[in-house]
Structures are given as structure tokens and as C-alpha cells.
């Protein structure tokens, strides 16, 4: 983790080094913008969220703990959480021009899951996701990539809320034991 160049950039940001912050942005923004775009599906929203998140990353850089998570994981979590807040605003203009957000959501077809083999962790996660039941996998993928909450998942999958909660819970438990088994 210490070999991660983002870690030293983040540490420099904590010391209020503006040049390091710009480099951190150049190195990480395409990934995080891709992530925000994937979840929000609207470029203007994704731009707003990205902007807010980098200001947040700058403000909170001193709180980053290298022992807890990798820099990209920490930053991606800030972006995902902000995207979820954004999607769940009290009065979101949820329906975008291209159509209903939920209807346009692809199920667990190819898409990002197919791209998981890019790293060893990705391969292991892919194998563990594939070991899940279809519904569990679909629910987890929809939640992660489309920012759906339990109740939105239930509506999207046309299943009772309790059922969907159980899928998610069991899916996560199995995922964890599979990942821990390596």
C-alpha cells in the first residue's frame, strides 16, 4: 500500500500541498468520474458530484488512514456515498431525459462485472460473485452500480422488500466467506 503513488499524494494534500492535489486529481479523476457517471447516468450530475467530492477529498485528506483502506478505495467511497446522497435527495429530478432511471438500468448482463478480471482481487471477487445465486448477484450488482436502496431494489425486481433484504444479506455473507477463503 505504501508503494501506491496516490498514498504519498494524499499525504502531501494533508500537508496542504496544492500541487500534489492537482496531481492527485489528474491521476484519479477519470476513474472517479467514470464511477459517478455509471451510478448517476447523467453527465451534469456526475460533474457536480465530482467537483464536490474533490473539495471534500482536499478538506478531509488529513483524516485519511492508510491502514484502513487504499487511497483509491477511500476516494471511491466518498464518490459513491455522494452519488447515493444525490440520487436520494428529497426531491430528485429522478426522471432524466433519456428515460426512467430504473427502466434503463441494465440487469446483471455483461457490463462492469465482465471487466473484473483486471486485477487479482477482481478475479477473486468475480469468482465469488459468480458463486452466488443469480438473484443475490443481481441485487448486489444493482445496488453497487446503480445506487439502488433496498426498497428501490424491491420495486425494480418486483419482489417483496423482505425477500430482497434477505437476498442482499445472504449474498453479502456468502461473498465475505468466499473472499476470505481466497
Amino acid at each position: 500500500m505504501s508503494a501506491d503513488p496516490l498514498a504519498s499524494l494524499l499525504a502531501a494534500c494533508a500537508r496542504r500541498d496544492r500541487a500534489a492535489f492537482e496531481r492527485l486529481y489528474r491521476e484519479s479523476a477519470p476513474k472517479l468520474f467514470g464511477l459517478a457517471l455509471r451510478i448517476l447516468r447523467r453527465e451534469d450530475w456526475a460533474e457536480d458530484v465530482l467537483q464536490e467530492c474533490y473539495v471534500r477529498i482536499w478538506d478531509h485528506a488529513p483524516e485519511y488512514r492508510a491502514g484502513l483502506s487504499a487511497p483509491m478505495t477511500w476516494m471511491a467511497s466518498i464518490v459513491r456515498n455522494r452519488c447515493l446522497d444525490w440520487l436520494r435527495r428529497p426531491n430528485p429530478e429522478v426522471i432524466d431525459e433519456e428515460g426512467d432511471l430504473l427502466e434503463s438500468t441494465p440487469s446483471d448482463g455483461p457490463g462492469p462485472l465482465a471487466a473484473l478480471q483486471s486485477s487479482r482481487e477482481g478475479l477473486v471477487l468475480k469468482r465469488c460473485l459468480e458463486a452466488l445465486e443469480g438473484k443475490q448477484r443481481q441485487a448486489i450488482a444493482l445496488a453497487y452500480f446503480d445506487g439502488l436502496s433496498h426498497s428501490e431494489l424491491a420495486a425494480h425486481l418486483r419482489e417483496p422488500l423482505g425477500t430482497v433484504k434477505t437476498w442482499v444479506r445472504r449474498g453479502l455473507l456468502r461473498l465475505k466467506s468466499c473472499l476470505e477463503a481466497g
Binding site: F33, Q51, P62, A115, S149
Partner: protein, 247 residues
């Protein structure tokens, strides 16, 4: 949120928070609980790490240049090293502080809020009860507009610093205002985080004649809730000004 002694519940909530399926209320409660609960924060970080390859699998997209421009515009103005490391800044303040307290009071009177709002409220410091006002006084102003934003005073024998903020507009939700002593040639020292009210009383480490004797200036910065996590200012500096003996 009471999760101590409930490892299974903690694990489940951490997983669902990291995945993002919790409802708004539960999400917000968990986000708050995260700040004070190291075990929960660790459990969430572990789940974020488990799921991280999913984020990696999303194709990168170059954001338009205006995003970086907007970010840069929102960062605190000071470029390079922090203002508190800047010796010139110090000397300037030292000079300012050597001016007479009378000048300070004149400044307070003349620098009334700029737009003639519904009759600018006069800025009045209540004089301590003893005839000789033996107080330390500080008037902190916006470094750019010179508009006074905060008054602070302490009787020289007292360890109570009375603080009054003059502009509610400088408050930002989710952030706290923190007041700093700027001792000459030394690192800033926190005097405390201001509450939500217009007035606050901060406890000094000792009587003002000791704790403020080597402090030519104070500063006010915007910090994460609860104050700077580093013990040094991290956020933008909203106001600075001399702190002088008035007797």
C-alpha cells in the same frame, strides 16, 4: 446507534452501508455513528475494500476541464504553504498589534458592516465592571474586505474569553468555526470551537495575562465538525486580527 456487543448487526450494517442499500435514515445514522466508532469504521472500510474491484471495473472517463477549474475556485485562496507558516504574515500582524488599542476601537467603530442594511447595528463591547478596562481585546476581520467578523475579550485576570461573532453568514452547515491564538513565531494554538450561538465563552489555559501575553493575533478558521482533526488549522481562514492589551 448502539452496536457495541452486537458484532453481527455491526457487520451487516457495515456491509449494507458499503454496498449502499440502507435507507436514507439508516444511512445517515450509520454515517454519524462511523465518526465515533472505530470498530464500525474499520468494518465499513473492510467492506469497501472487498467491493473495491467493482469500482475498478468501471471504465474511466476523462472529465471536462471545467470540473478542475471549478474545484480550484472552491479551494481556500492561499496558495503554497499555509498562512500560518508565513513569517511575513506574522511580522505584519506584530506591527498591527503594536498599534494602540484606541486605534483598534476606532477601527471597530468605523468599519461598520458595508451595505447599509436595516440600520447597521453598532458594534459595542460591554466594558468590564471595573473602572479601568483591563482587558485583552481582539477584533478579527475578513482579510480581503476588512469587514469585522468577530470580537473577543478577556479580563486580564480571567481565563474566560468572551467571543461574539458578527456575521451569521460565515457559518456553513456541517462545519465548525474554530478560534486560534497565533503566538509570535510559534504554531497556532486552538482556543476552541465556537458553538452555534452568536456569543461563546472559551476557556483559556490560564488567566489572559499569561495565556494571551505572547499572542499578538487571533484567527478564525472553518473546520470539520468538532474542530480541526490535526490540532492545526486545516480549513479556510475567515478572519484574522490583532489581539492587544487594553490598559
Amino acid at each position: 446507534m448502539k452496536l457495541a456487543g452486537k458484532p453481527e448487526l455491526q457487520e451487516r450494517l457495515a456491509a449494507e452501508y458499503a454496498l449502499g442499500t440502507l435507507r436514507d435514515g439508516a444511512r445517515a445514522r450509520l454515517a454519524r455513528a462511523l465518526r465515533g466508532d472505530a470498530a464500525l469504521a474499520r468494518a465499513v472500510a473492510e467492506w469497501e475494500t472487498r467491493l473495491a474491484p467493482l469500482a475498478d471495473a468501471v471504465a474511466p472517463v476523462q472529465p471536462p476541464a471545467r470540473v478542475w477549474q471549478a474545484i480550484e475556485a472552491r479551494l481556500p485562496a492561499a496558495a503554497g504553504s499555509g498562512w500560518w507558516d508565513n513569517l511575513g504574515f506574522w511580522r505584519g500582524l506584530g506591527l498591527a498589534a503594536s498599534g494602540a488599542a484606541a486605534a483598534l476601537l476606532v477601527a471597530v467603530v468605523t468599519l461598520s458592516p458595508q451595505p447599509p442594511a436595516p440600520a447597521p447595528a453598532p458594534v459595542v463591547l460591554k466594558a468590564p465592571s471595573n473602572e479601568m478596562a483591563e482587558v485583552y481585546l481582539a477584533v478579527l476581520a475578513d482579510p480581503k474586505t476588512q469587514k469585522p467578523l468577530l470580537l473577543a475579550s478577556a479580563n486580564y485576570r480571567s481565563d474566560q474569553l468572551q467571543v461574539r461573532t458578527l456575521d451569521p453568514a460565515m457559518r456553513v452547515s456541517g462545519k465548525d468555526l474554530e478560534l486560534w491564538a497565533l503566538p509570535a513565531g510559534k504554531a497556532p494554538r486552538s482556543l476552541g470551537v465556537l458553538g452555534a450561538g452568536e456569543r461563546a465563552t472559551l476557556r483559556l489555559a490560564s488567566a489572559a495575562e499569561r495565556s494571551l501575553a505572547d499572542v499578538p493575533a487571533l484567527a478564525l478558521s472553518l473546520e470539520p465538525t468538532g474542530g480541526s482533526p490535526k490540532g492545526a488549522p486545516t480549513g479556510p481562514v475567515l478572519a484574522v486580527g490583532p489581539c492587544v492589551k487594553f490598559w
